[in-house]
């Protein structure tokens, strides 16, 4: 398989009035054609920043170092006009809040046709009919009429469908979806998740799904990357991560979710959840050892001083923990 996206030793720093924040530290990962990769981690783990930097969308006070290659072409430091020829066309991003990513002053038709006219050189009429077809494909009823509406005239779920349609317009090789269903109600989320998995069936786009919801990952992804404090702590095939997690953080994360299926529960007494004690570290200071050490149930002295490398186990499963060796 060829890599669509190849990130190597990426570091992202933000300069803030309180000092430098080390948001992403020495992160490497690659995404192959047609593959769906879930990026999970808690707020502040750097999961969104990695891909904002891919799209050239880091905040002004952010600096990315290292390498991010798209089909072999280096994206970091690329001139804006060259970057614009790639983003929106060959890679597209879907955001959590569709209201803030659509222009409230412009009709949907204008926002969609602009992309096609600019990048694909279509005429206005061609672009319009293609936009309508795409809206129909993502399940917007009366697309021919609704294409001329403004974003505020759509419900939250419909706006997210519009965002997905826009991302798909130029048939990109890579779609980055950052918490695409987090702002939606659960019945609407189910509709969007269905749409995403259906679309995955008929395009060969690689999908990066950034989310804190492990249920969403379980349903949609082939592979999972678990991030903590700006680093990858574990990665592997979706079944390996969910059924044989190795890193104590992944184990803790999976155990701390209340289960809807109620397995092992029952009886009048409610069991306690297995919470992970403590809080994520402050990323303003350089962390010497393992960033998870202060919260880790298996911590030993070495963990405080020496940072564990990401070690390959088997089947593409890898884990960064001193207590976990190759099997």
């Amino acid at each position: 398989m060829t890599a669509v996206l190849d990130i190597d030793d990426l570091n992202i720093r933000f300069s803030t009035p309180e000092g430098t924040v080390n948001a992403v530290n020495g992160l490497s990962l690659s995404v192959s054609a047609g593959e769906s990769v879930g990026i999970v981690g808690e707020s502040g783990s750097g999961k969104s920043q990695v891909f904002l930097s891919t799209m050239g969308l880091l905040a002004k006070n952010g600096r990315a170092k290292g390498s991010t290659r798209f089909h072999g072409e280096e994206l970091l430091g690329l001139k804006a006009d060259r970057l614009n020829a790639i983003r929106g066309v060959r890679m597209a991003m879907i955001f959590q809040d569709p209201m803030t990513s659509l222009n409230p002053y412009l009709r949907i038709s204008r926002q969609m046709t602009e992309v096609l006219m600019e990048h694909k050189g279509l005429s206005r009429a061609e672009a319009r009919s293609r936009s309508i077809r795409m809206l129909e494909r993502v399940g917007i009823p009366e697309a021919a009429k609704r294409v001329d509406m403004y974003p505020h005239e759509f419900s939250g779920g419909m706006r997210q469908r519009v965002m997905i349609a826009m991302a798909l317009l130029c048939e990109p090789d890579l779609i980055i979806a950052d918490e695409p269903t987090t702002a939606l109600d659960v019945t609407i989320q189910a509709q969007i998740l269905d749409l995403l998995s259906e679309l995955r069936g008929d395009t060969n786009s690689a999908v990066v799904l950034i989310t804190h919801d492990l249920g969403v990952v379980a349903g949609l992804c082939d592979r999972v990357v678990v991030m903590y404090a700006g680093r990858v702590v574990e990665t592997g095939l979706v079944r390996d991560i969910f059924y044989s997690p190795r890193h104590p953080y992944t184990v803790g994360l999976l155990e701390s979710i209340p289960r809807l299926e109620g397995d092992g529960e029952g009886g009048a007494e409610h069991p306690r959840l297995k919470a992970i004690d403590g809080q994520p570290p402050n990323l303003q200071s350089e962390i010497a050892g393992c960033a998870f050490a202060p919260r880790c149930p298996r911590v030993e002295e070495r963990c405080q001083q020496e940072r564990p490398d990401l070690i390959g186990l088997d089947n593409g499963h890898a884990c960064a923990c001193h207590k976990v060796g190759p099997t």
Partner: protein
């Protein structure tokens, strides 16, 4: 069973909303809470679930009269809360406290957390001197898992999970009998969410607290609730014991809601058959006639458009509002 701690009967909270512009623009009622009834016993947790706009937060606030209900009854240990004067209501609020979703926004940024937690005591136990106040605050901080030496710090110095602990300490300091929890863990990461859920359950066990736990997250509600109420457009669709509701949901909406939750288990999630609901939530300003759920219901017929189904007990303490159950 003894008399309920709290008894809510046919509660209505309607807002009048201007739907067209101008001074004499047309106004329409928005029935945020539309005839909701339930009883709550001491030490019991009622989970209230529903999607945005279903009225779950308005319900919580109406019970404390933070929003004035427009009809129905709220009885606290048998005495009416709806028609008492402000002073009496204020005294009742000693027994009924509330915690909110956004922990930082519900704390005054210019007060130290010691002052924040002591505030309810200054209202309800005016005889306490400074030392006594401080001791009570420190003891409560310890109880909710905050280091007592942080007493002079300000809210912005704390993380989201810690701010929620501060909110819980402020509610608990007057030793209430009931806490209304309005999405208390929705803004928190899962590992922190579990800490706060455990804390609330510990406090419930130690003090015999009753909880009304409002959330959109069904997994959390299953974990913490004894009984669950499912709301849709201001009306209860189904009320049942926790296991009955999740293992044998009867109302088509409850069934769809439960099946829509993505399970953190790849094999189960991929094998699962989802009951898809078409369309969006109808506008609460223009709710459907008859059963409010009928426009999205896979079982809806003409009867559903004509008459509103009542919430009837179908055995085993499971009440359902549907013509076809």
């Amino acid at each position: 069973m003894s008399a309920p701690l709290l008894s809510v009967k046919e509660l209505h909270t309607h807002f009048s909303v201007r739907v067209s512009k101008g001074l004499f623009g047309e106004r329409r009622p928005l029935r945020a809470v539309d005839g909701v009834s339930f009883d709550l016993a001491a030490g019991e947790t009622l989970g209230v679930v529903g999607e945005s706009g279903c009225g779950k937060s308005t319900l919580g606030r109406s019970i404390l009269r933070l929003i004035e209900p427009t009809g129905g009854e709220v009885l606290w240990q048998g005495s009416d809360l709806m028609h008492v004067d402000r002073h009496t209501m204020r005294n009742h609020r000693r027994d009924i406290q509330i915690i909110f979703q956004d922990p930082l926004a519900s704390l005054d940024p210019r007060m130290t957390i010691g002052e924040i937690i002591a505030e309810p005591l200054k209202t309800f136990e005016r005889s306490l001197n400074k030392t006594q106040l401080r001791d009570r605050v420190r003891a409560m901080m310890d109880k909710v898992g905050l280091l007592p030496q942080m007493i002079n710090r300000y809210p912005h110095e704390f993380s989201g999970g810690q701010c929620q602990r501060i909110g819980i300490a402020r509610a608990m300091i007057v030793e209430p009998r009931l806490i209304v929890c309005d999405e208390p863990v929705s803004a928190l990461d899962v590992s922190i969410q579990a800490q706060i859920i455990n804390l609330l359950m510990d406090l419930q066990r130690d003090y015999g607290l009753a909880l009304i736990f409002i959330s959109h997250d069904l997994s959390v509600v299953r974990h913490i609730g004894h009984r669950i109420m499912v709301l849709y457009l201001g009306q209860a669709m189904e009320v049942a014991e926790r296991d009955a509701l999740f293992d044998r949901p009867l109302h088509p909406y409850t069934q769809a809601l439960i099946s829509a939750v993505p399970l953190p288990d790849p094999d189960k999630e991929r094998a699962k058959q989802r009951i898809m609901l078409s369309g969006d939530l109808p506008s609460p300003l223009d709710p459907p006639s008859g059963c409010v759920f009928r426009t999205r219901c896979p079982k809806a017929t003409d009867l559903c458009a004509q008459s509103r189904p009542s919430l009837d007990d179908r055995g085993g303490n499971q009440s359902v509002a549907c013509h076809y159950v």
